[in-house]
């Protein structure tokens, strides 16, 4: 598995986590360049179908970041994200995908360091898990 670089798709909520990622950049925190960020309005917006589609088209891991519980801009969007990801993880494991490939976490707009740390941790975890190869390879 030499030369394996994980491809990670990140769904970042507009109000907290995207701003947190921005802060990480402005503050010049170092984190691995494996993350491709998709900006969404809320972590509750992330459909489990989209997560699986990302894995199908070649992502090795999917990172969903939202506001901390209680801080959601839409009040309870992240509550739903949390419940969905719990069910999604079980379903993925029955289909033969390691549920660790999907991680949901909370990053506020002031937590640039936490953002960098989560991305680093997650990238290393996916690196040890190896390529996902869920689909036959997409476009």
């Amino acid at each position: 598995m030499t030369g394996f670089e994980p491809r990670i798709v990140g769904f970042l909520c507009n109000w907290c986590s995207y701003a947190g990622a921005d802060l990480a950049g402005v503050s010049r925190f170092q984190y691995p360049p494996n993350l491709r960020v998709v900006r969404v309005m809320c972590s509750g917006r992330v459909a489990p179908e989209a997560v699986v589609k990302a894995l199908y088209y070649g992502a090795d891991g999917v990172l969903i970041l939202g506001c901390h519980i209680g801080d959601c801009h839409y009040l309870t969007g992240n509550h739903q994200a949390m419940k969905r990801v719990a069910v999604l993880g079980r379903l993925l494991s029955y289909l033969g995908v390691d549920p660790r490939r999907v991680r949901l976490d909370w990053v506020s707009a002031s937590e640039g360091g936490r953002f960098a740390q989560i991305v680093t941790e997650f990238t290393e975890e996916i690196r040890t898990l190896g390529p996902c190869a869920l689909g036959e390879g997409g476009p």
């Binding site: 589609k53 419940k83 029955y94 289909l95």
Partner: protein
């Protein structure tokens, strides 16, 4: 047992407790759902094959309760319901597909043999009118076999199974709980058109996930499948998971909302 059901249905029709009874009718050697309005017809009412009557209530197109409401607003129908039928009716009512106030359930229990052939864990309705509740089946071989596999084996297993899929949509069409008019399985952005078998596992994943908090384990999807994909295996596991995570079982009662559409205050889970 069938005599008791006929008698009860007849009594309800005569007394005006219901305007019609939905059940299976045998006519010229064929069995199909039928709306009985005349007590004279009730001789044709049958219980087998163990075909969920509710199929006609929850189907994606024109459902019996909706048709009845259009023709006879305020009318009531009796439904001859097994355990799975009753769970489906309750779950459909919760999702605004029909109104339980317009339905009277004639609950019928399944026999132990029927329960075993379906692998049903709860082969009797709550409103049991005819028959005796028998114990359900607690262990499912397919489920145990899947849980015994490693992740790689599971993926290989499903790749083999799903590659048989000819995308006939039978599993979706047979499902009493699939009622969306705009089905995601028909949207190109999620399921590519013109490919058989459909992308593995996208097509099946979408069905499994959408039914995670709805599936009432009637097994119609698996029965409808022309290539025998063991779809119910994952539905059983997800139903078990949703119960474990949120203490929610589809069709158990009419009060509790699905945890996937409520906040953590209503269906809390452990913070990770």
């Amino acid at each position: 047992m069938i005599e008791e059901v006929r008698e009860l249905a007849g009594r309800w029709l005569e007394s005006g407790r219901v305007d019609a009874v939905l059940g299976l009718r045998e006519l010229d050697g064929r069995v199909a759902p039928h709306l009985f309005t005349d007590t004279g017809e009730l001789d044709g009412l049958v219980l087998s094959p163990d075909y969920p009557v509710v199929y006609t209530c929850g189907q994606r197109r024109k459902t019996v309760p909706r048709l009845l409401e259009r023709e006879n607003p305020g009318g009531k129908i009796g439904v001859v319901a097994r355990g799975c039928d009753e769970r489906a009716l309750i779950e459909l009512a919760k999702r605004n597909q029909l109104s339980l106030e317009k339905i009277e359930i004639i609950g019928v229990s399944c026999t132990r043999e029927e329960a075993e052939s379906c692998g049903c864990s709860r082969p009797y309705p709550t409103n049991l009118a005819v028959g005796e509740a028998v114990e359900g089946v607690s262990v499912d071989e397919d489920v145990e076999a899947l849980l015994g596999m490693s992740l790689e084996e599971r993926r290989e297993f499903w790749r083999r199974e799903f590659s048989k899929c000819m995308k006939c949509y039978g599993c979706r069409n047979a499902c009493p709980l699939c009622f969306c008019e705009d089905c995601q399985l028909e949207q190109e952005q999620w399921v590519d058109v013109g490919h058989v078998p459909p992308e593995i596992p996208m097509f099946h994943f979408i069905r499994f996930y959408h039914l995670a908090d709805r599936c009432i384990e009637c097994g119609e999807c698996e029965r409808a499948c022309p290539v025998d994909i063991p779809l119910l295996t994952i539905h059983r596991l997800l139903r078990r998971d949703v119960k474990e995570l949120f203490d929610y079982e589809a069709g158990r009662d009419a009060e509790h909302e699905s945890p996937l559409i409520t906040t953590l205050d209503e269906a809390p889970m452990e913070e990770r």
